[in-house]
Symmetry: C3
Subunit: 205 residues, 3 copies
Amino acid sequence: MAFRFRPVDGSFFELFTQQAQHLTVGAGLLAQMLAEGADRDDVARRMRDAEHAADETTHEIVRKVNSTFVTPFDREDIYGLASGLDDVMDEMDEAVDLILLYEVKSLPPELGQQVEVLQRCAELTAEAMPRLRTMKDLADYWIEINRLENAGDKNHRRTLASLFNGSYKTIEVLKLKDIVEALERAVDAFETVANRVETIAVKES
Amino acid sequence: MAFRFRPVDGSFFELFTQQAQHLTVGAGLLAQMLAEGADRDDVARRMRDAEHAADETTHEIVRKVNSTFVTPFDREDIYGLASGLDDVMDEMDEAVDLILLYEVKSLPPELGQQVEVLQRCAELTAEAMPRLRTMKDLADYWIEINRLENAGDKNHRRTLASLFNGSYKTIEVLKLKDIVEALERAVDAFETVANRVETIAVKES
Amino acid sequence: MAFRFRPVDGSFFELFTQQAQHLTVGAGLLAQMLAEGADRDDVARRMRDAEHAADETTHEIVRKVNSTFVTPFDREDIYGLASGLDDVMDEMDEAVDLILLYEVKSLPPELGQQVEVLQRCAELTAEAMPRLRTMKDLADYWIEINRLENAGDKNHRRTLASLFNGSYKTIEVLKLKDIVEALERAVDAFETVANRVETIAVKES
C-alpha cells in the first residue's frame, strides 16, 4: 500500500459530490418548470426544498473546514468550491422562482436549450467531484464545462436578440430578461466551479 | 483581574460600532425619502454626507488593520466586516439616489415595509457591534437578522409581483424595479454582515 | 549599484503593462463603435480579439504567480491586480457586444463622454503599470483615476436621467440602460484597479 503524505478526510469529497447531486436535481426541476402544462407551484416548491438541502450540505462543509485540523486541500479552496457550487443552485432557484412570480405565459424556445446546457453541466460536475480524491482525469471535465459555457453564451446572446426583435411586449421583455439572465449566471457559475477545480488540481499536481 | 491571552486594540470595536451607527442614520434618511411631501433634494444631500462619513470610518479601519501588529481577530475578518458594513451603506445610498434621479412620482406601499426591515436591521447591528469585544450574546443578533432577511425576501417578492400586476406603466416598472432591487441588496448586505459576525464568533469560541 | 532586498521577477511588471495596453486598445475600439457610420460587425470582431489577447495575458500572470517562488509583491495582490485589469476589459467588451446585439439605432451623446473617460483611464493605467517596479510616482495616478471616476459617475447619472426624460421609447430605454451600465461598471473597474495599486504601494512603502 502506498504511503500517503498527508492524512485526509474522505468525507469532504462525499460532501462535494452530494452538493453536485443537488445541482442535478435542481437542473431537472428547471427543465420540468419549462414543460408545457407543468404544475409550476409544485415544481417551485420542490426547487425550494432542493435549494434548502443544498444549503445544508454547504453549511456542513463550512463547519467541517472550521473543525478539521488537516484538510485534503487548502481551506480557502474548499470554501471557494463549496460556495461556488452553492451559487449555481441559487441562480437556478432564482430562475424557477421568477417564472412562477412573474406569471410568464410563453417562454422563448431558446430557454429550453439553455436548461439542457445546465443539465449537462450538472451531470459532468457530479461525475467529477469524486475524482477530486485522486485528482485524476479532471481535465476532461473542466475542458468540457468551458466548451458548454461557450455554447451557453452563444445561446444567451441569441435569446437576448430574439427578446428584442419586436415579437414581445416590452413588459414581457422586462420579465423574460430577468429569467434569461439568471440562467446565464447559472452557466457562468458552473464555469467558476470548473475553474476552481482546475486551480486546485494544478496546485496539488 | 483576568489574564488576557492576547492584547487587543479596543478601538476596532468602537470603529465598527461607529460604522453601524452611520447605517442607522442612513436607514432613517431612507424612511424620510419615502415620506409624503419630503424635500427629496435635501434628504439626498444628507444621505450623501452620511455615506461619506461611513466611507471615512471604513478607511480608518483599513488603515488601522494595516498599521496594527496584533489585531483582535483575523485581519481578513476585520477587513471583511468593515467592507460588509460599507456595502450596506452603498446600497441604501443607491436607493435614495435613484428615487431622486428617476423623479418617481408614486412609490408602492411595500417599499415602506422594506425600509422598516432595514431600520430594524440597522438598530440590531449597531447594538451588536460593541458585543464583538466579549463575543458574548451575539447569536440572538445573527438569528434575528436572518429572520428579518427572510421577511425582507418575502416582501421583495410581493413587491415585484405587484410591479408586474398591470397597475404601473412599463417605464415606471423599469424605474421602480431598480429601486426595489437596491433595497433588497441592502437587506442581503445586512445578512452578509451577520454571517461574518457568526464566522468570527465561531472561530474565536 | 544598490542592494536589492528581494530578488524580483521583472516580467510581472511587463505583463501588467501589457494588460493595460490591451485596455487602451479596447477603449479605442469602444470609441470607434460609437462613431457615425461605423462597421459595427468589424469593430466588434476586433474587440473580441482584443479581449482574447487580454485573457491570454491574464492567464500568463496567473501561471507565473503559481510557478514563481519569490514574487515582487504579495501573490494575492498580483492576482487581484490581474483580475481587476481583466474585469475592465470584460465590461468594455460587454458594452461593444450589446451595441451590436441590440441593434441600437441612436445612442445618447453622453455615451461618447463616458467613453472619453474610459480612454483617459486606460492611458493613465498603461502609463502607471511600469512604475510598479519602483513604486514611485504612483499617487498621481490613483488620485486622477478617482477624480475621473467621480466625473464618470456624474455623467452616468446624467445619462440615466436623460434616458428617462421621455424622449426614448421604453424598449429603447431597456436596451440603452444595459449599455450605459456596462460603461459605468468599466469606469468603476478602473477605480478598483487604482485602489489595488494604492494598497500595494502602501504595503511596500
